[in-house]
């Protein structure tokens, strides 16, 4: 069974040059003439159209997807500027890709279903293993979209997702599909065929203080907690600092202290980053909030993050049933990059220790993650999380 993998990266300041260099490096490391799938991650310093055009002019690949990111994870470093290209050629692994455009009034549930159908159509009638999607991180609520996907793919089918990001600008993120870079869209990839996968996600945050109850919520908006306006939770804890909640989209406070929702059966709390606080004190999150749920302010630190990453790697490794991985794809919340700062690579070094130094590795920093998280149930259901690390190991 032969799988050829090549990862190229460039930090050149010129978009065309960086894209060309990254693509050339990927092709050279692939050591194979044909490219079945290219996955592209680019920081937002580059014009995505120029970059994609340069990649297509440099390498010939039948399928390409990717997105913009706040940073790129490589086996030997973490880069907050650059373009990375993953090239795969394999007879055994099969790929299907899809694109969905999302407009203001779009029914996300319906779009999610159509998206899954289109991607499956591109994949064909083969054994499917995992679905990977990159959705515009600016879309406020990913939950209906995920439900739409699950409607077609099945509730317990492993879905991994990332919200494309733009390094805390929250202005414009990009999704790459073949030779097109667009926003307000989702791109997807189904992997299948003769391959094994190990998927795991963790966050490492712990509940702090007394439990509170969400007394009123509407989809992804928490309106009231313990009968008070939702933002009171942060105001109570942070007093003077809480003003910043209203002035910025994703403040330092909410990155360091996200909300944790207790979900019966899950081993870890479901994390939600408040992405916006409305004038009436309602907190807008990226995923749905179940009314009546127990909620906490969560606390984490660098060590708990690194430990969570190691645990995710160990679980993904365990799921490979003893096979050595050929490729590791990491989707990690950009908030963790901010929290870990200079020590961010130590977290990745911990992951490398589990899989081995020689395994090719690529990853991106996302704004919202989807992954089947650790639960007490045998079959784990994919959920939307924030501030987590998701590891996909392919053998």
């Amino acid at each position: 069974m032969s799988v050829h993998i090549g990862i190229g990266f460039s930090q050149d300041l010129n978009a065309e040059q960086a894209a060309r260099e990254a693509a050339e490096n990927a092709q050279n490391k692939l050591g194979f003439g044909r490219i079945d799938l290219a996955m592209v991650f680019s920081t937002t310093h580059y014009d995505p159209h120029t970059a994609l055009s340069a990649i297509h002019n440099t390498i010939r690949c039948s399928k390409l997807i990717g997105c913009s990111t706040a940073g790129i994870i490589l086996a030997d470093s973490i880069q907050t500027r650059g373009i990375a290209v993953l090239a795969i050629a394999s007879e055994e692994i099969k790929f299907g890709i899809g694109l969905a455009k999302i407009f203001d009034k779009t029914d996300l549930y319906q779009t999610g279903m159509e998206f899954a159908k289109n991607t499956l159509k591109n994949f064909g009638f083969q054994g499917r293993q995992v679905f990977l999607s990159f959705i515009d991180g600016k879309i406020p609520d990913h939950s209906p979209f995920l439900k739409g996907l699950q409607e077609i793919l099945g509730n317990i089918f492993p879905i991994i997702g990332a919200g494309s990001s733009d390094d805390f600008y929250f202005e414009k993120t990009f999704q790459f599909y073949q030779d097109t870079a667009s926003n307000n869209s989702a791109v997807g990839l189904i992997l299948g065929g003769q391959m094994g996968i190990g998927v795991a996600g963790r966050h490492g945050w712990r509940p702090l203080g007394k439990p509170r109850i969400i007394t009123e919520s509407d989809q992804n908006i928490i309106k009231k907690i313990d009968g008070e306006k939702a933002s009171f939770l942060y105001e109570d804890y942070f007093q003077g600092e809480a003003d910043k909640l209203y002035s910025s989209l994703l403040s330092q406070i909410t990155i360091l202290y996200p909300l944790g929702i207790y979900v019966e059966g899950n081993k870890e709390y479901l994390l939600r980053n408040p992405v916006k606080v409305l004038k009436d004190g309602s907190i807008v999150c990226q995923g749905d909030i179940p009314p009546g749920a127990e909620i906490h302010i969560m606390i984490g630190n660098k060590d708990s993050c690194k430990q969570a990453a190691r645990e995710a790697a160990q679980e993904a490794q365990k799921n490979l049933l003893g096979k050595k991985p050929k490729l590791i794809i990491i989707i990690e919340s950009m908030t963790r990059l901010k929290l870990l700062g200079r020590t961010a690579f130590q977290e990745i070094a911990g992951v490398k220790e589990i899989f081995g130094d020689d395994v090719p590795m690529i990853g991106m920093y996302s704004h919202g993650e989807i992954c089947p998280f650790e639960s007490l149930e045998k079959f784990r259901k994919p959920l939307i999380q924030n501030e987590s690390i998701v590891i996909l190991a392919i053998s």
């Binding site: 805390f168 600008y169 439990p211 360091l256 606390i299 700062g341």
Partner: protein, 489 residues
């Protein structure tokens, strides 16, 4: 229903049981309420503790972030410093300070302006701006004298320390929410401005940013100043080099003239000497014939005059021979007849030759000759002339009862010889000219004894022809020592 008492008893028991149950339930309820209250209180206390933890944790996180930023900045500074301080080319400083280095400081936009000779700001580095933007920024900054003056005073201007109005103006102008402007200062004042900025939410500017950018600006200033000083020094050295070259050419030309003149002089002396020697030989010959009486008896008075002619002719022949020798040695026409010689034997020969004169003046002769001096390659005849001249001079200037000492010692390469006397010594001002041709020291003895002034000049030529050196040390009224070296091989 036959026995109402029984019924009443049963009912009473039931009511009593119910009453007891109610009492127990109420007690239990109160207990639960108390437990619940206690639990609530515990949660509240826990929450208060959590607030304290959060406060501490938030402060720690801020401190950590600041520390990380500072460490990143210092790391970037160290790398930048290493790159820009190892060149002395101003142009190259800015090539080396490439855009990727600025990114390491945690900023996505950067401008470096340097004053040109007319005092106008010129862009030397640009990250994140169009050429048109840069021109607008320069024009606006140059127009705002308050900004320029603040920078000239050595202060940084940042989004953290600027007054509201100025901050708003610079934010718009530089299209950056967070920025630092730092002056590039040298000993001569401000030579330019460094700007770094971010529009990203993640990169706020703090005091450590201001410090780091300020240090970066200082490094650029230092490197630029060094490059300019080097440029000046290089230009000055080039001018000096040109002048030295011109002067060297002039001197070479003058030397060539001197050499030509010297050659002409030598040829003239040689030619004149030859021309003089032929008639002199005839004069001396005819004087000898006349003195011998071959042409008839010569009266006593005539004989005396003929003897004088003979003596003066001999002196003149000696003078002409010396002149010819100097001329030949100078022109390289004399070929040294080098043979293996024992230096001690040469000195002894000369001593034998001059013994009568030593005795006449009652001068003590002393030698200190190293017996280990190997045989040397010398022209024996010329070597003897060195000693004859030096020892004759010593006899001439040493008063009766004095001492003349000859020493010779060898090291690995040369034999060092000294001829010392206890004579009248040489005036210090005469020493530099002592070996010049025709130079005669103006002293009492020289006024009485005639000489040609060629002896020491000839000695010098012979020593140099043997690749040796000669010099003299002297103390007035105590004596003189002539030192010379001769190579062993």
């Amino acid at each position: 229903m036959e026995n109402p008492d029984i019924i009443i008893s049963i009912l009473s028991a039931i009511i009593l049981s119910l009453l007891i149950a109610v009492i127990v339930f109420v007690q239990q309820f109160h207990k639960s309420q108390e437990s619940l209250k206690k639990l609530k209180d515990s949660f509240e206390r826990l929450d208060e503790q959590a607030k304290l933890i959060v406060k501490t944790d938030l402060e720690l996180n801020k401190a950590q972030e600041e520390l990380d930023k500072r460490l990143n900045g210092l790391d970037a500074l160290q790398k930048t410093s290493r790159r820009i301080t190892t060149t002395l080319d101003e142009q190259e400083i800015f090539q080396r300070l490439d855009k990727s280095m600025i990114i390491n400081f945690g900023f996505e936009k950067n401008l470096v302006f340097i004053h040109d000779k007319t005092g106008k700001l010129q862009p030397r580095l640009n990250l994140g701006f169009s050429d048109k933007d840069v021109l607008t920024i320069i024009a606006q900054i140059e127009k705002d004298t308050s900004i320029i003056n603040t920078l000239k005073e050595g202060h940084t201007i940042s989004s953290a320390n600027a007054q509201h109005q100025r901050k708003e103006f610079l934010m718009r102008l530089l299209n950056s929410n967070y920025f630092v402007l730092a002056p590039i200062l040298t000993k001569n004042g401000m030579i330019g401005i460094v700007f770094v900025g971010n529009s990203a939410y993640a990169e706020t500017v703090t005091e450590s940013d201001e410090e780091i950018v300020s240090i970066l600006a200082s490094q650029i200033g230092q490197a630029t100043e060094n490059a300019r000083l080097f440029e000046e020094a290089f230009r000055a050295s080039q001018i000096l080099e040109t002048k030295v070259h011109e002067r060297t050419q002039q001197l070479a030309s003058a030397l060539e003239d001197v050499q030509n003149i010297s050659k002409s002089k030598s040829e003239f002396i040689s030619s004149v000497s030859h021309e003089l020697r032929t008639p002199l030989t005839s004069i001396k010959g005819y004087a000898s014939i006349l003195m011998a009486g071959k042409l008839g008896e010569v009266p006593e008075e005539v004989r005396k005059r003929l003897e004088k002619i003979n003596i003066h002719s001999d002196n003149l022949v000696q003078f002409i021979n010396n002149l010819l020798d100097i001329s030949r040695i100078e022109s390289g026409r004399v070929e040294m007849n080098m043979t293996k010689c024992a230096l001690a034997a040469i000195i002894e020969n000369v001593h034998d030759l001059l013994t009568p004169q030593l005795k006449d003046k009652n001068i003590e002769w002393k030698t200190d000759i190293d017996p280990n001096i190997p045989d040397m390659l010398l022209d024996q005849h010329q070597a003897e002339r060195i000693f004859i001249n030096l020892i004759s001079n010593a006899i001439k200037f040493t008063p009766p009862g004095g001492i003349i000492m000859v020493k010779a010692h060898a090291n690995s390469q040369v034999v060092a010889v000294t001829v010392s006397d206890t004579g009248m010594g040489i005036n210090e001002k005469d020493i530099p000219k002592l070996f010049d041709e025709f130079y005669r020291v103006d002293n009492e003895i020289n006024q009485q004894v005639k000489g040609t002034g060629l002896g020491l000049a000839l000695v010098k030529k012979i020593v140099e022809a043997h690749r040796g050196r000669i010099w003299v040390t002297s103390q007035l009224n105590k004596g003189s020592t002539f030192h010379f070296t001769l190579p062993i091989q």
